[in-house]
């Protein structure tokens, strides 16, 4: 009883807060451009977010266990490169190529995870290394050339259901499943415990290493999934996903997930991704120049976390903030 009285408003304020911020952005762009409020805009956004969303889901999990994954952009590029080479250079059947692509993502994630747990190293630096390695491997695999694969992957981008593209539906599905796992399963609890206090988690009988390894592996696998979508749309370009790690992290943090671990929500991450994408599309639609875009993006990132601070403070009304 107590529970229901306290918990539900918390969720609501979370999502309402994010939705409010999003609404504000939409309003601003709606007023400052001519055709922002159109089916086309939303169709475009729906089409552009799946890969980022899927990677952001993995990143949310990684941040919750108090890690960070800087390699996502490179790993996505590498998976896409393998897909591209398999299809365009060797003409391997699509299903096999897809499996290879996913496998590459999974293996990269596993490798980062293994190094992190084997020597209890900070994931920041390990994935920074992996970022370089995967990028190097991408150049090797593609021989620094863009491989054209759209014609082989049309079924990915062109399948639609109720007007929504398959990638978008897949991304939404992944968000929901990941949120369910996070909040309703033993594994989800273990992630939160590991991210909150690793020592206590270990002493509570949680297989800390296995949890971390699994989370990094999932993050890698999701990069593979994102690579399918990304490659289908933008071809296997060895420079895909450069700088994407920071964009993904920004989205996740704007969604209110803590960089310190232990606190986060996948659904909020989805809002974070939407905010970033609406911002990008809206700015482009106003015809803003690069300097303006950069300035505004930076300000919105900071404003979003400042807002999050007030939201969190509202929620724990009265609890000594200084403590």
């Amino acid at each position: 009883m107590n529970n229901s009285h306290r918990r539900i408003p918390a969720w609501l304020t979370d999502y309402l807060g994010m939705a409010g911020a999003l609404g504000l952005l939409l309003l601003i762009f709606g007023l400052s451009t001519e055709n922002f409020f159109s089916a086309a805009t939303f169709g475009t956004i729906a089409n552009q977010i799946p890969d980022t969303t899927i990677m952001a889901v993995g990143m949310t999990w990684v941040l919750i266990i108090a890690g960070i994954d800087l390699s996502v952009g490179s790993v996505m590029a590498l998976s896409g490169a393998v897909l591209g080479v398999a299809l365009a250079r060797f003409g391997i059947p699509l299903p096999v190529a897809v499996v290879a692509c996913l496998l590459v993502g999974l293996l990269c994630g596993l490798a980062s995870g293994l190094i992190v747990v084997a020597w209890s190293l900070p994931s920041f630096i390990v994935t920074l290394g992996m970022m370089e390695i995967a990028r190097g491997a991408t150049y090797l695999v593609t021989q620094s050339r863009t491989l054209y694969v759209s014609d082989r992957l049309e079924m990915i981008t062109d399948t639609t259901l109720l007007g929504l593209s398959a990638p978008f539906l897949l991304a939404v599905l992944i968000v929901l499943v990941a949120q369910f796992v996070l909040s309703m399963t033993v594994f989800g609890r273990h992630m939160v415990a590991v991210g909150t206090n690793e020592t206590a988690a270990r002493l509570s009988g949680i297989a800390v290493r296995r949890v971390r390894l699994a989370v990094f592996a999932v993050s890698g696998l999701l990069c593979g999934v994102a690579a399918l979508i990304n490659t289908a749309r933008y071809q296997a370009n060895p420079n895909n996903g450069i700088g994407m790690e920071l964009q993904v992290i920004a989205a996740v943090v704007i969604g209110g997930t803590s960089l310190m671990g232990g606190r986060g929500s996948v659904v909020s991450t989805f809002f974070g991704v939407l905010i970033i994408k609406v911002l990008g599309t809206g700015l482009a639609q106003t015809g803003a120049q690069e300097p303006t875009k950069r300035l505004v993006t930076g300000c919105v990132i900071i404003a979003a976390v400042v807002l999050d601070y007030y939201r969190r403070r509202l929620r724990k009304t009265g609890t000594e903030a200084a403590q």
């Binding site: 107590n2 529970n3 306290r6 918990r7 309703m184 399963t185 033993v186 594994f187 609890r189 273990h190 939160v192 415990a193 909150t196 206090n197 020592t199 206590a200 988690a201 270990r202 002493l203 509570s204 009988g205 949680i206 297989a207 232990g262 606190r263 724990k316 009304t317 009265g318 609890t319 000594e320 403590q323």
Partner: protein, 512 residues
Amino acid sequence: MIGSAGAILSVRRICKTFGPVRVLHDVDFDLNAGAVHALVGENGAGKTTLARIIAGTHRDDGGGMTLNGQSYRPAGRTDAQRRGVRMVMQELNLFPTLTVAENIFLEDLPRRFGVINYRLLHRRAEELMAAIGLRDLAVDEPVGNLTVGSRQMVEIAAGLSQDCRLLILDEPTASLTDRETCLLFDQIRRLRARGVAMLYISHRMQEIKQIADTVTVLRDGRIISTHAIDTLTVEEIVNRMVGREISHAPAARTAAKGRVALRVENLCAGPRVQNISFDLHKGEVLGLAGLIGAGRTETVRAIFGADRLTSGRIYLGETAKHVRIRSPRDAIAHGIALIPEDRKEQGLFLPLGVDRNIAVPNLSRLSCAGIISPAAERTLARRHIDTGAIKCAAPDQPAETLSGGNQQKVVIAKWLARDCDVLIFDEPTRGIDVGAKFEIYAMMADLAARGKALIVVSSDLRELMAICDRIAVLSDGCLAATFSRNAFSEQTINAAAFSRHTATFRTQGAAG
């Protein structure tokens, strides 16, 4: 000006609320110079909160204070210190990468143009450590390398490092053994003689009888009474704290020894645990005694798989085949639980709710195919909050906002919920109030009666002697002696604990 017996601090009608919860109600209170004033009360009574308000780390919501007759409302800890009020915190607040000396004098490092005078710093630290009897601690050792007990001494040393007129000690002895406690008391007496007023918070009644001049009882945020220490017996104090009569005599242990539950053979772990062997029977409570750093914690951590064994074997039950415990996970799977000594670092998930904390080791039971049943989780939490008398506003109150003692109860509850066969308690009553202590003793007796096997590590010898069937004494990482119930006394145990420099003697199996 005030005389030696005048009130140095007067607290009037102080109130404090945390959100919807009222923690202090109109507290009135006087502290005299040159006197040790004990503050006692159950866990969550509001002692720490009151102390923090005086020391400037919390702001009151109403009421006022005067210090030396002048109005006093510190804006922060630094402000309070400027006015001569200092506090030794209940929780450890040290910096592991800084050295002992740096930690002690962090607030006032001897300097010139901001550059630290290390020569002077080390000399001062050495003097201070010598004064509180810690000559053997290198002052340039990083604090991270010290045991919990030594850290607490460093924390106290830091509190004593500066002159002050009012010193608050919040459970300073919670993880100290008798030897350090004595040294601390010498120091307190010295300060008292110099006219320093002291507020002494503790759950150890013997200590209070020993050192305090006056005692104030706090119950549910209200002052119950203030008395000269000689006018009350321990029982009377405890009754006032709890608000009812409690039977504090632990149930006499009937050492109904069952079959062997756990056998440890030649256990070596790290440099500090050497060749420990003992049997633990079903229905038995085995105490582990020893001085700070004797290796008690390391021994039980090794059994629990938290530290790696260098050699030795662990048998479960009376089988001839030893079990391999490589991690706490293995240990738990074999029915062993460890309640760790440092609740904040090792026991709790501070930002998570009480319910989530209790659920963590029990998730397999609360879930089906990996999916958690929120109803089962709630029920479990409710039950343990009730049976453990955990004082919280709601089951999902974050553990970090509980009082120290209640945090400890949460850690115990989370393991009781797991229903293991061998339970290891490392300093289980650290920071727990007298009433709750007896509840915990009763619970241990009950567990033993149900055939569980218990190991209890404690720095409080009287506690061990009250609840244990046998006491094993560690000295410098070796098992110095084992005493059965009819054979132990403070002298024999202390002698064994100090025996590390004399020839090691063993009385394995002396228990009847």
